[in-house]
């Protein structure tokens, strides 16, 4: 455990010692703010219309109309920012030769991979924490339910975990950061749009494609539902990607 934390700690320091953390967090904050403001205006308009309706005031739900779509929009931010976080994890170590230090230290490959994953996760959590500010305003001036907000964050954390673990795996395959970043981005995008084809496919294919789509599983979390189906998907996705990463690092040793 100490070893894992040492690696995670090093990764976090690495992010914050380089521009990566600031670019990722800043970029995410700007985009999130933009999404927030737009959805807020839209929500305001909707609630005005509802209030001025002939049938008397209608219930407008801030969770359903503002927070839930906002969480789904965060997925867009992740698509662009998380490849930046993971692209250097292994590639940079390989290019600069520091991988030799890690692989000749009394650490197991699993410890290294999990440490790196946790480091990325902490940076991602820091990025998400910026969005708490916006939601705090809703709690100050409105009366949203807090439980769906928590499940939404849990869903985002898990989805981000999938992206991070996948990015880590791609990064472990190449020495070139740009290649790692680009491939990670492409694979993220593929997992995102994989169910576009679902409406044209047969029922079985449709179900499979929908199940594979990373974003599809976020809907329930954003609505306040924790379904084990989605939990299993995210956790096994992360587990499998990390497993592949360990294998990739190990095979690299054999090939030299």
């Amino acid at each position: 455990m100490g070893n894992i934390l040492a690696i995670a700690n090093k990764e976090i320091k690495g992010y914050f010692a380089s521009p990566v953390a600031y670019i990722v967090i800043g970029f995410a904050a700007i985009l999130f703010g933009w999404f927030f403001v737009n959805l807020l205006y839209y929500f305001e308009q909707a609630s005005m219309q509802a209030g001025s309706g002939f049938q008397g005031p209608q219930a407008v739900n801030v969770n359903e109309m503002l927070i839930s779509p906002l969480f789904l929009n965060v997925a867009v931010i992740l698509l662009f920012t998380l490849p930046l976080v993971t692209m250097r994890t292994y590639s940079e170590e390989k290019r600069s030769g520091t991988i030799e230090l890690l692989l000749t230290s009394p650490l197991t490959d699993v410890q290294i991979v999990i440490g790196k994953f946790l480091g990325g996760l902490v940076l991602y959590a820091a990025m998400l924490s910026v969005t708490v500010v916006h939601l705090a305003f809703l709690f100050i001036f409105g009366n949203p339910e807090w439980r769906p907000v928590l499940t939404g964050y849990l869903g985002l954390l898990l989805m981000g975990g999938c992206f991070l673990s996948l990015g880590l795996f791609v990064s472990s395959l190449t020495k070139n950061q740009i290649v790692a970043g680009m491939v990670t981005f492409a694979v993220f995008l593929l997992f995102w749009v994989i169910n576009w084809f679902a409406s044209f496919a047969g029922p079985t294919t449709q179900a499979v494609l929908n199940y594979l789509s990373i974003t599809e599983h976020l809907n329930d979390f954003a609505r306040g539902v924790i379904d084990t189906k989605h939990l299993v998907y995210y956790v096994s996705f992360i587990g499998f990607s990390l497993f592949l990463t360990v294998r990739a690092v190990d095979s690299e040793r054999w090939r030299g």
Binding site: A17, S105, P106, L107, R253, W254
Partner: protein, 334 residues
């Protein structure tokens, strides 16, 4: 302390290391010598547990690096060819991180970091980012990193490459100091380097061990005879017949004449010291004895001779010979 047995490493069809065996005793500094691409780095990477061998075993402090990697790695410090530094980290942070992953207990980390920084003379750079260090400092931080957990075994891959003359001699001194407490393997393609630092040398070429011995023995064993360089002032007389008459002299190379000064290279029977006779002969003839020194084959020459010759015979059982105490063993080079 380190035992390498029949180590073979293949990358696909190419064989980088071919059935290498040698051992290093505790406290010894072993030089690993060979041209580029001879398999030095590969061998070191197997010993450090960076990559598994294709065949054979490597034992560090009794632990097989393939089956007990954690135990073996705990006892190994490794400086790869390029020091494995994180450019964004400060030297102090970096060493603290390495201490953590090498298993130095938390309370001892601070003092260990201070200690190795002092030992490698990088303490004044403690707050400097690794990317801003000069080559010499990078190398020394790399060395500090390798010894931070006080390992039994130190593996140094070309520790002096890219350093200037002063830094080189400092690094050599540091390595010499480290020997004794640590068992050291250091690789180099610079021969003088190895002969100054190491007690024993393994010469490898094309993935095979060509010779194992002390630098001194290698030099003398490879010569079939002793050679002396002699410079005399004969005041115009021809010294050659007089010198040839001395017992034990086998041949005298063509003289080099500069005015009255004449130089000779005199070959004599092996094991026979003819310096006294030579000196008294010269003096008795009333000539000036200006210079007399034994000529040894430089390691450079030995190295070229060993590595350029195809099919240099090995010792019969394939085991390289261990360091001898004297010159009574057979020559490696047949």
């Amino acid at each position: 302390m380190i035992e390498v047995q029949h180590l073979t490493k293949r990358y696909g069809p190419t064989t980088a290391v071919d059935d290498i065996s040698f051992r290093v005793e505790p406290g010894e500094i072993l030089g690993f010598l060979g041209p580029n691409g001879a398999g030095k780095t590969t061998t070191m990477r197997v010993i450090t547990g960076y990559m598994p061998p294709t065949e054979g075993t490597a034992l560090v402090a009794g632990y097989d690096v393939a089956t007990h990697p954690i135990e073996a790695k705990r006892r190994t410090g490794y400086l790869p060819e390029t020091p494995p530094l994180y450019p964004d980290m400060t030297v102090g942070d970096y060493l603290a991180f390495v201490a953590a992953i090498k298993g130095v207990p938390r309370r001892e980390r601070k003092s260990r970091v201070q200690e190795v920084m002092k030992r490698t003379a990088v303490a004044d750079m403690s707050n400097r980012h690794c990317s801003k260090l000069s080559k010499g400092y990078k190398q020394r931080v790399g060395l500090a990193q390798a010894i931070i957990h006080n390992p039994d075994v130190l593996i140094l891959d070309e520790p002096t490459s890219g350093l200037d003359v002063k830094q080189r001699s400092e690094t050599r001194q540091l390595i010499k100091d480290l020997g004794g407490d640590h068992t050291v393997i250091l690789s180099s393609h610079i021969l003088s380097e190895v002969s100054q630092t190491c007690q024993r040398v393994v010469i490898i070429n094309r993935g095979r061990v060509v010779a194992v011995d002390t630098p001194d023995n290698l030099t003398s064993r490879l010569r079939g005879e002793e050679t002396l360089f002699l410079q005399v002032d004969t005041r115009g007389a021809d010294a050659r017949p007089v010198l040839e008459a001395i017992t034990g002299v086998r041949h005298i190379s063509p003289s080099d004449v500069k005015g009255d000064l004449v130089s000779y290279e005199i070959g004599s029977d092996p094991g026979r010291d003819i310096r006294r006779e030579l000196a008294s002969t010269v003096v008795n003839h009333g000539w000036g004895l200006l210079e007399m020194r034994p000529l040894r084959m430089s390691l450079e020459q030995i190295f070229l001779e060993l590595t350029e010759k195809e099919g240099v015979p090995e010792t019969p059982d394939g085991e390289p010979q261990s360091a001898g105490t004297g010159g009574e063993e057979e020559t490696v080079h047949g």
